[in-house]
Symmetry: C2
Subunit: 118 residues, 2 copies
């Protein structure tokens, strides 16, 4: 698939992997590994993040509520406000051992980041 | 990434490619090639379909408004009501020559399938 189809705010699901994520100060934290999409509503529920060893976070991936991320057209990536302390206790998993993305799991993730589960 | 993370209605963007699309009669029409996502709202705007030679449609891909597709948990895929006549005049492109997904293009696609552009 052509990779130039990212004009405006529309991006192909094929290109989401690798979109950078920045701190509010503009520091690169990591990137989006995948989006988790609700097949029925077509809404993105989670961005699964990798932090590339940032802050010693290792190779686990971290599901974040979609609404915790803000897209910055300036940076060409997402911005998220996260501290090492927050991530230390955050839901995470080895990418080869994905949890069941049940409602119960979703509530846990959303609660952790204080995002309402709607 | 683990490919088993599709429980309930949540699916990884990595797995969307290849999800089957069926007619209301249950006939397989083709599959989803990619989802086009609004980076800012996190909503899926289009499903880009390939019809695998169905009805002689060739190898072009067809952007469909997301709301034209209904997910069927029974089929494990999407259902869409389409006729050959509809597809004959439908917006399409060679996958190596993607259009700019501008608002203007989006309105054209949505209008074609009589889906409101909101």
């Amino acid at each position: 698939m052509d990779t130039e189809n990212t004009s405006g705010t529309i991006i192909s699901s094929e290109k989401v992997r690798g979109t950078n994520v920045y701190s509010p100060a503009g520091e690169k934290l990591g990137s989006v590994e995948a989006l988790m999409i609700d097949k029925i509503s077509g809404r993105v529920r989670y961005a699964v993040m990798e932090f590339g060893g940032f802050l010693g976070m290792g190779t686990d991936v971290y599901p974040l509520p979609w609404d915790a991320l803000k897209y910055s057209t300036e940076e060409g990536g997402y911005m998220v406000s996260l501290t090492k302390e927050q991530l230390d206790g955050a839901p995470r998993y080895n990418r080869d051992d994905s949890p069941e993305y049940s409602d119960e799991y979703g509530r846990k993730v959303y609660d952790y980041y204080n995002v309402p589960w709607l």
